[in-house]
């Protein structure tokens, strides 16, 4: 019998509960808290920092990773400067570290650079380390979470994310021309194109990301594809829209069997996590002699991608993505639709809650 998954009983809190947790738990006098967050243009950048500063006060230290992309528009840089100024007003002692996402020859190095930046911190002086993924790209936050889980001995590791699928949709990445593994997520059986086992690719479908997903498909060369669709979702018609938007790929390219669609609760990262593990368990039996390899590509909403992250961490699945060369953001539209901030979600991944 398979052992219970590591995060089967993962603590997940939302909004009011997160604030209460911050007030009642993180504010305890013996706690020293490190917040690692993005210092970029994303409107969600400042939210968790403000809540933590209110309750933790001077025991809060922060590391703001500022993702640098060579083609970033000046408007985005201006927004990032403003957000950063606001963050530093709240945590004046914070460190701001620029993280180059691309090397001068356009190799993707963001994940490696971010881990380097985090590894330079004296992590053992903190009781609680919080990574706020809201304004960090996956290429950065996935390796950082993995690194924190590896090095943390006594510390509590928390992940915060402001769940705003509509904001994720409004921030449109311009994909780089090559797909690659997220740093630290190469899997255990060699490079993706070399592996022998039956490869199943689980891409998270996102509107407007056809080019990126197709690049990933070509890199992964899977034997089978099970697209992940968000359902239930904030927009109930979203799965239909996505199927329509990816009709060409699903029919002509990826040759998806209509029965091979995975539905996952857009608001529940553990739902996707459990679904992926169930699929893996089932395939292990079927491909016992040949071997099975699941490859993940979580490029959709932040919350849903955390579910894929947990599965990748637990089973060492490769995660393949396409880094964004730059982002296109219509700030006017963003301001219009973003009248109220989205739900703040907390996942407690490691530490005293688990004994």
């Amino acid at each position: 019998m398979t052992a219970e998954p590591r995060w089967e009983r993962c603590i997940v809190q939302r909004d009011g509960d997160v604030v209460a947790f911050t007030r009642d738990f993180l504010s305890q006098a013996h706690r020293k808290v490190l917040l690692i967050a993005g210092g970029g243009f994303d409107p969600r950048t400042t939210r968790s920092c403000g809540i933590l500063a209110d309750h933790v006060g001077e025991r809060l230290q922060a590391l703001f990773l500022r993702e640098e992309r060579p083609s970033a528009a000046s408007e985005l840089r201006d927004h990032a400067e403003r957000n950063l100024a606001e963050l530093l007003k709240v945590v004046p002692t914070a460190q701001v570290v620029p993280v180059s996402i691309f090397a001068p020859d356009h190799a993707v190095i963001g994940g490696r650079e971010a881990v380097k930046a985090v590894s330079r911190m004296q992590l053992d002086q903190f009781t609680d380390i919080i990574l706020d993924c809201s304004a960090l790209s996956r290429g950065v936050n996935f390796p950082v979470i993995k690194f924190l889980l590896e090095v943390a001995v006594r510390q509590n590791i928390h992940v915060f994310v402001t769940d705003e699928p509509a904001t994720d949709d409004t921030i449109v990445p311009v994909p780089w021309e090559q797909a690659s593994n997220i740093h630290g997520f190469r899997g255990t059986v060699g490079p993706v194109s070399q592996v022998g086992p039956a490869r199943l690719w689980l891409p998270q479908l996102v509107r407007g990301q056809n080019v990126a997903l197709d690049l990933i498909y070509r890199t992964v060369e899977p034997h089978d594809v099970c697209p992940i669709l968000p359902f239930p979702a904030s927009d109930p018609k979203l799965p239909d829209w996505l199927i329509e938007a990816f009709a060409t790929e699903m029919e002509s390219g990826w040759q998806v069997d209509p029965r091979n669609i995975v539905y996952a609760d857009e608001k529940g990262p553990l739902d996707l996590y459990r679904a992926i593990l169930r699929i893996d368990d089932a395939r292990k039996v079927i491909f016992e002699s040949y071997g099975s390899q699941i490859v993940l590509s979580p490029i959709g909403s932040k919350l849903l991608s955390l579910g894929a992250l947990l599965a990748a961490l637990e089973r060492d699945f490769p995660v393949v993505y396409v880094e964004a060369l730059e982002y296109k953001v219509d700030f006017a539209a963003l301001d219009r639709q973003r009248k109220e901030p989205g739900i703040l979600v907390h996942l407690w991944l490691k530490g005293e809650a688990y004994g």
Partner: protein
């Protein structure tokens, strides 16, 4: 509906026979045969440069051992014979058995990651070479296993290397070599996959020990039926542009050594080279170019799958290959194959669609108005009309709309070649300074004018589809995909299969616009702006009423001598041009002789030509300067 044109089907098929059914032998014959016949493909480093989608990988896959054995297994199938001949011409097959054990190693990000390690360059270089060699060995053995040859049946003939080198490789038995390669690969993969690499002094012995199988291996001895054969190992490093430029240079230098008996090919995109070197590859004659840090170009067989040299021949050759490829793809689609519709050429109607009577009348009114404005006599107009009427295009007869558009051009040319009419009475009908002739260029210009004035179909037929593809297989397939889709829809609806010229044009131009919108590569904003500015200028010149440039302009010409100063005058412009050329937005045509001068042309790619409504014919260019071009190098129009 499954449309294999939407992506290159060769990237999807796993079965050798299915792959072979899709492959055209033409690129092998065109690019490799002449080197294969004198062994230049195997006794030195071969560098194959090309744009994304130019067919480098497909060509390489064909040489892989399982593919060659599958081809030999099916040698009695008539459709495979051209491929067999092409591979035999390249020296890949002799006497009905393979002579090569080729493995294509796709250089993924793992290899580039090594450059990021905090070690001295020498150590990083050592790790890279060890990983490349270990994975190559694994690849060779995987191929042998796939064709039914177990590692224990394999023996290696050594180059005569030292006993220590042989031992470090795992001995000369197949099993020993394979085990050692697995060990080295595991050790280095562990370092590459680590979130933080270990410090140099903590690297394991397995990863840092001397491991140089390429220096040891001469031939593999493998069973073939009742007997044994010797095969030469070939490593094909695909997508080498992923390496850091210094890694690329070091790796090239390493593979350059003549004492290596392993055959080695490096497949790369042209943008791995620094801008000045990338452009000089295209500016210089084949065989004379140099790679970064390598001055012994004679030691390299360099094959450029990018437009240069005899362009007419290349166009003809590409058309042949593209048609062959399209037909092979069509035959994979049940909707077409079941109806015996396996020739794309026959499904794309290659006949002009003339204007409606109302539009023709409108055009006639415009011609009359121009005649009056230019103060040209009715008699002169009739004489010019008679010239037009006597012209016979290569295919078919002239329509009335074409005659009128040609007449309009002649009226304007006549007006340009006669003195100012204000000095003469209204009835004066002076002879032009140079006689007016009606030829193919007037006809082509008239057709282009009709496209822009009346949206009359201009891009149609298989040859236009091929020419719009910038001699790039992937671009051809992606353009063809939309046409094939439309034809399939017609079949499903029970309509005639063939696509009319207007439908073809609409689909192609829509797709071209979508391609340009979706461009994503370094310097894309600069490239997009430059293409836009150049295309608009070409269009304006092409639509001059007297069509002085003939069929139309689609290129920007700078004197060759001036262009060669590009890297010193404007490195930023060189960088933009490098990516524009590497991604088919622009084609460089050096040494173009015109008006007793030597030019370097920046010809717009097929996709911009379609999008901006420019001629697909070559040769028409607007004269410019490097200084002017520098002003176009900006990120917004």
């Amino acid at each position: 509906m499954d449309n294999p044109f939407e992506r290159r089907a060769t990237e999807q098929v796993r079965n050798e026979e299915a792959f072979l059914a899709l492959i055209s032998p033409d690129p092998i014959t065109a690019y490799l045969s002449r080197y294969g016949s004198n062994r230049q493909l195997y006794d030195r480093l071969v560098v194959i440069l090309g744009t994304p989608g130019s067919g480098k990988t497909t060509m390489a896959k064909l040489f892989e051992f399982p593919m060659v054995t599958a081809l030999l297994r099916n040698s009695s199938v008539p459709s495979y014979r051209p491929l067999l001949t092409a591979l035999a011409d390249c020296g890949c097959i002799a006497d009905g058995v393979p002579t090569l054990l080729a493995h294509r190693l796709s250089l993924e990000s793992d290899y580039r990651e090594i450059w990021e390690f905090p070690y001295p360059e020498e150590s990083r270089d050592g790790l890279l070479k060890s990983l490349l060699q270990a994975r190559t060995i694994l690849g060779w053995f995987r191929h042998l296993t796939r064709t039914g040859i177990a590692p224990r049946q394999v023996r290696v003939i050594s180059t005569g290397a030292s006993a220590a080198a042989v031992e470090a490789m795992g001995g000369l038995s197949g099993e020993g070599i394979l085990a050692r390669a697995q060990q080295v690969e595991n050790e280095i993969y562990g370092i590459v996959g680590a979130l933080l690499p270990p410090s140099l002094d903590k690297l394991t012995k397995g990863a840092t020990d001397a491991y140089r199988p390429f220096d040891v291996i001469d031939r593999f001895v493998v069973p073939a039926g009742e007997k044994s054969i010797e095969v030469r190992p070939l490593i094909i490093l695909d997508d080498a542009h992923i390496l850091h430029p210094v890694q690329f240079a070091n790796t090239s230098r390493w593979l350059l050594r003549r004492e290596l008996l392993v055959a080695r090919w490096v497949l790369t995109r042209f943008d791995i080279l620094p801008p000045d070197e990338a452009l000089s590859v295209l500016l210089t004659a084949p065989g004379n170019a140099e790679l970064p840090g390598i001055t012994t170009a004679r030691e390299i067989t360099q094959i450029t799958m990018q437009s240069r040299g005899d362009r007419r021949e290349q166009r003809t050759q590409f058309r042949r290959m593209a048609k062959d490829m399209a037909n092979r793809y069509l035959s994979q689609m049940p909707e077409f194959a079941s109806r015996k519709l396996v020739s794309l050429e026959s499904l794309l109607i290659d006949e002009s669609e003339h204007l409606t009577d109302a539009k023709t009348a409108d055009l006639a009114d415009r011609v009359d108005a121009n005649q009056r404005r230019l103060k040209i006599t009715e008699e002169r107009k009739q004489r010019l009309r008679a010239e037009v009427d006597s012209y016979r295009p290569a295919a078919g007869d002239l329509g009335e709309d074409e005659r009128l558009a040609m007449l309009n051009i002649l009226l304007h040319r006549y007006a340009k070649r006669t003195p100012q009419t204000g000095l003469f009475p209204e009835s004066a009908d002076p002879e032009p300074s140079r006689p007016l002739s009606v030829d193919i260029s007037v006809f082509d210009a008239a057709c282009l004018h009709l496209l822009h004035a009346f949206d009359r179909p201009y891009y149609f037929g298989i040859d236009d589809l091929c020419d719009a593809s910038s001699e790039n297989a992937e671009q051809f397939l992606r353009l063809a995909a939309i046409l094939v889709d439309a034809i399939a829809t017609r079949l499903i609806r029970g309509r005639t299969a063939s696509l009319k010229a207007r439908e073809q044009q609409q689909l192609l131009r829509d797709r071209a616009a979508a391609f340009i919108k979706d461009w994503n590569f370094p310097q894309v904003d600069f490239v997009r702006t430059m293409v836009d500015l150049l295309a608009q200028r070409c269009r304006a010149v092409s639509l001059e009423p007297n069509a002085w440039i003939g069929a139309g302009a689609n290129a920007y010409g700078i004197l060759q001598e001036e262009f060669e100063r590009l890297s010193t005058v404007s490195p930023e412009l060189g960088r933009t041009l490098k990516y524009a050329i590497a991604y088919n937005a622009i084609t460089l045509v050096p040494q173009y002789e015109c008006k007793n001068k030597v030019w370097c042309l920046l010809e717009l790619g097929g996709i911009p030509k379609l999008h901006y409504g420019l001629t697909l014919k070559r040769g028409g260019f607007i004269e410019g300067t490097l200084d002017e071009l520098r002003t176009y190098n900006r990120s917004t129009p």
